[in-house]
């Protein structure tokens, strides 16, 4: 067979910055896990490969392809976990990644994961995948939830009709996985085809006849062409001979002229109808009047009135756990007692005794020492805060609260020039702005992705930074908290509104799938939190060491003094902060929380008064994205856009900080 060239169907011309996470899979023994969003593909992937990927209860957790290896029955497979799709006719970036992988590897086996209680939707996708001619196994996952809702599926009949093995599982409980594994080597092409309206079938036959015979998925490509999929049309036009392309265009044009409604709609509706018939044939539902209490709670949590106390309750619990328990008690013990009283005095004593060179001793235990600054910052100040935050966040992800938050925040998001779906990356930004920048892929329009990236860089503090900020504000009058929140929110709205007006393109419509509220699965939350803490330790701690080393070098070479003097007009003159704060802002370039931690220490030393604390916090909140986020911005949005945002955000933060100071002084607000 001819494979499409390496660029094939990878619509790189549409989004030049789109990264390629995986190498091209081999032609055989590749297994692509696919299915509708939020059906448990990642759990299945984990069970097959033993490789951990993030699992949550909302559509859009997986935004890129992960690869793992698996072996069974003597065959070794390369397994790919993909973002969920509802159709090969993709519209957002994460869906495009998944569908490209499917179209580029027609020889791979697909494992279609279906939500058993949502069979109709799954079968709509199955009918479309059948057209690729790929070998497949169908997995009816969450069969327990289907049973709870009294939905019965005749698996044997389904298997007979589709012509592929069908295996039911409850993936989170590991039920049915062995049977699924046994079925995988028996994968076969689907034996079912949708009968489209005559106008489509006639045109499709002509298109298929003109496409190269070697293409196994001619039927899929033909239908995507008729549905006017821009990427497929562009790619095939690029690849096929000119007269052939002309023919394809002519056939599609004539077919469209004969039909009153768009062909894409005719095609989708034919599939929907057939999926509906098929669903009725193989499944039956006993009506049950009673709605489970979880489902009712789910409704309440996005109710226009009840949703608000639920949100406030969630925030209060989080504030207590993160702001009080972790940031006050946890940090207090670790920083003051553990490091401050036990570790630091002893290593300092030891270092000065054992190391004859004062410079070297200072490197370890001096003012900018690796053991006295980097280690306590990373492990005593930040770790307890982010650890607790990750735990809370993991819990909310697991039960499915975040999408409900998106529904609740739809109004607020419109203020930002976005729709509610954008809440998801913005809220995820409170966890980690770097990952959230990548999650912007679930948004439908480029315009929205740019706005979200900008807002994340500007005013969404990440968990670590937020924890430190809240810890600092906790010791201040409550007015400080409100001013901080007011300034940051106002700025988000102003910048969002301006960006929404300036950027070309329409606001993308709000269409978001809300998953059912589920009981939290503690093991998943624990694994996820530990995974994130591990990631934090691997990614952040080295940067803390690097930053400290950098400061130490600047200090030892006397450059820090020079910089502090140079920064004097800005830091001391414009922002009204002590010169020592320059160091905090310098390391803020490396990590947001590092900068905040520097301020935290200054506050503890009593070097900042109330106004200075507020001004410095507002400035550091809005200050540059951390280095990892900056690289992610370059990767997702391109170097020019990323750098422009970087400069803009730095400018805004310093400007706003200084203006705030002057306003506070003029109004004689004492904090």
């Amino acid at each position: 067979m001819i494979r499409l060239p390496s660029r094939a169907l990878r619509c790189s011309h549409l989004s030049p910055a789109r990264p390629r996470e995986v190498a091209k899979p081999a032609l055989t023994h590749s297994l692509i896990v696919t299915g509708n969003p939020n059906v448990g593909k990642s759990v299945i992937f984990q069970l097959l490969t033993g490789r951990y990927t993030t699992v949550s209860n909302y559509p859009g957790t997986t935004v890129m392809v992960s690869e793992g290896k698996a072996q069974w029955d003597g065959l070794s497979f390369r397994v790919f976990d993909t973002p969920g799709i509802n159709s090969l006719l993709a519209s957002s970036e994460d869906e495009l990644v998944a569908r490209d992988l499917l179209l580029e590897n027609p020889r791979a086996t697909v494992l279609v994961v279906a939500d058993a209680k949502n069979l109709r939707r799954a079968l709509t996708l199955v009918l479309e995948l059948a057209e690729t001619g790929m070998k497949a196994v169908l997995n009816l996952n969450m069969i327990d939830e289907a049973r709870e809702r009294r939905i019965a599926v005749d698996q044997e009949k389904l298997s007979a009709i589709l012509g592929v093995p069908v295996a039911a599982t409850v993936a989170t409980e590991r039920l049915g996985i062995d049977r699924l594994k046994k079925f995988l080597p028996q994968a076969r092409p689907f034996q079912i085809a949708v009968r489209y309206p005559d106008v489509v079938e006639t045109a499709l036959a002509s298109l298929e006849a003109r496409l190269p015979r070697e293409l196994q998925n001619r039927r899929s490509l033909g239908l995507l062409w008729l549905a006017r999929d821009p990427a497929v049309i562009e790619e095939l036009s690029h690849r096929l001979e000119k007269p052939v392309v002309e023919d394809l265009r002519r056939i599609a044009g004539q077919a469209q002229a004969q039909s009153a409604s768009p062909l894409a709609l005719l095609i989708t509706q034919a599939r929907l109808r057939q999926a509906q018939r098929l669903t009725r044939e193989v499944s039956s539902t006993e009506p049950s009047r009673r709605r489970p209490w979880l489902s009712r709670l789910g409704d309440l949590s996005m109710h226009r009135i009840w949703g608000i106390p639920i949100l406030l309750a969630a925030l209060t619990v989080m504030y207590f756990l993160v702001g009080d328990l972790a940031a006050q008690r946890g940090v207090g013990f670790l920083e003051e007692t553990f490091f401050g009283e036990w570790i630091v005095p002893r290593v300092t004593w030891l270092a000065h005794r054992l190391i004859p060179f004062p410079l070297l001793a200072n490197l370890l235990v001096g003012e900018y020492g690796l053991l006295t600054m980097a280690l306590p910052y990373a492990l005593a100040i930040i770790l307890p805060i982010v650890g607790m935050f990750f735990l809370c966040f993991g819990f909310m992800e697991d039960v499915g609260y975040l999408p409900r938050l998106a529904v609740m925040a739809n109004r607020f998001c419109r203020l930002l020039g976005l729709n509610g779906k954008a809440v998801l990356p913005l809220v995820l930004g409170l966890g980690c702005d770097t990952m959230a920048t990548m999650t912007a892929r679930i948004l439908d329009s480029k315009r929205d992705r740019v706005i979200v990236t900008l807002l994340l860089a500007l005013g969404i503090p990440c968990s670590a930074q937020l924890g430190v900020i809240l810890a600092m504000l906790a010791g201040q009058p409550i007015l400080s908290l409100w001013i901080w929140l007011g300034v940051v929110l106002t700025l988000l709205i102003v910048v969002g509104q301006i960006a929404a007006r300036v950027l070309p393109g329409e606001e993308s419509p709000f269409l978001y799938e809300v998953p059912p509220l589920r009981k939290p699965k503690l093991s998943n939350i624990a694994v996820k939190t530990l995974g994130r803490v591990e990631w934090y330790l691997k990614e952040a701690v080295p940067l803390f060491f690097l930053g400290t080393l950098f400061l130490f070098a600047l200090d030892a070479l006397g450059i820090l003094k020079v910089l502090e003097r140079l920064g004097q007009p800005l830091v001391a003159g414009w922002l009204g902060l002590p010169a020592k704060a320059t160091g905090a802002f310098l390391v803020g370039f490396l990590r947001r929380d590092f900068g905040a931690a520097g301020l935290f220490v200054l506050q503890k030393e009593g070097a900042l008064n109330g106004t200075q604390i507020l001004v410095s916090l507002v400035t550091i909140t809005l200050f540059v994205p951390c280095i990892a986020q900056y690289f992610m911005m370059i990767k997702e949005r391109g170097a020019r856009t990323a750098t422009a945002m970087f400069v803009l955000v730095t400018g805004i933060s310093i400007l706003v900080g200084g203006v705030l100071l002057r306003v506070l002084t003029a109004l004689r607000v004492s904090l």
């Binding site: 159709s87 519209s91 709509t124 989708t268 996005m302 999408p403 993308s508 269409l511 978001y512």
Partner: protein, 231 residues
């Protein structure tokens, strides 16, 4: 009195006088008819070789118009007939414009032809299908038919925007009327298509519907764009 013999020119004239009456132009001067209100140009009255004056004389003879000197007005039987013609015309306009989305020109010309051939039963069905709309696309009132009165008293209109359902109410998607093609594509990929049974779960802060076991959150605009038939 024998029932009047209706022809296209007579129906056109009935419609013209009715519309003029709405605009406060009656009684009309039969020598200076408000040409701008003529249904469709080139006008069938002339096209049929009927002079407007001949048509008017015939209508006075049949008791549809009352003529005093050069001025004319609708009689009560004339009003009753005019009402039906106008109703058919304007309902057709709504159907063509709002549901089938044809151009304004095509809407005008087609409505002018269709108004003459619809019978009472079809008119009633169209009216019910459209949800007994009160006005035509130009904003003129659509005279109420018997079906509207019965329906308005007994039950709500058959086809309504999704947002008008009560929370918890079930309905079937009748059609989705949106210019946002991408949105339509996504909706149908999620299983939202004509004929699909849905349940409205909430309206604020976002519209949430249940399609099968899937819950979808939509923007308020979609609440107007998705038209449903109550069950």
């Amino acid at each position: 009195m024998p029932s009047p013999i209706l022809s296209e020119p007579i129906e056109e004239m009935l419609e013209l006088v009715w519309t003029a009456q709405e605009d406060g132009l009656t009684p009309l001067d039969r020598d200076h008819l408000p040409q701008q209100l003529l249904c469709f140009l080139p006008h069938p009255i002339e096209a049929d070789g009927h002079q407007p004056q001949e048509t008017i004389d015939a209508m006075i003879r049949q008791g549809l118009l009352s003529g005093a000197g050069r001025t004319i007005e609708l009689t009560d039987p004339g009003k009753a007939l005019a009402r039906e013609v106008v109703r058919r015309h304007r309902l057709t306009e709504v159907l063509l414009r709002n549901v089938l989305q044809v151009s304004e020109e095509a809407m005008e010309s087609t409505a002018c032809q269709v108004e003459h051939i619809l019978n009472a039963e079809v008119t009633g069905a169209v009216c019910a299908f459209l949800g007994h709309p009160p006005t035509c696309p130009h904003g003129r009132g659509i005279p109420r038919g018997r079906c509207c009165e019965v329906t308005l008293k007994a039950v709500e209109p058959l086809i309504v925007p999704l947002a008008q359902l009560k929370i918890g109410e079930e309905a079937r998607v009748a059609f989705i009327h949106t210019k946002r093609h991408q949105y339509l594509k996504r909706l149908s990929a999620l299983g939202m298509a004509p004929g699909r049974r849905i349940r409205l779960r909430q309206k604020q802060p976002a519209v949430v519907i249940q399609v099968g076991e899937t819950e979808l959150a939509l923007d308020p605009q979609a609440g107007q764009e998705i038209l449903v038939r109550r069950i």
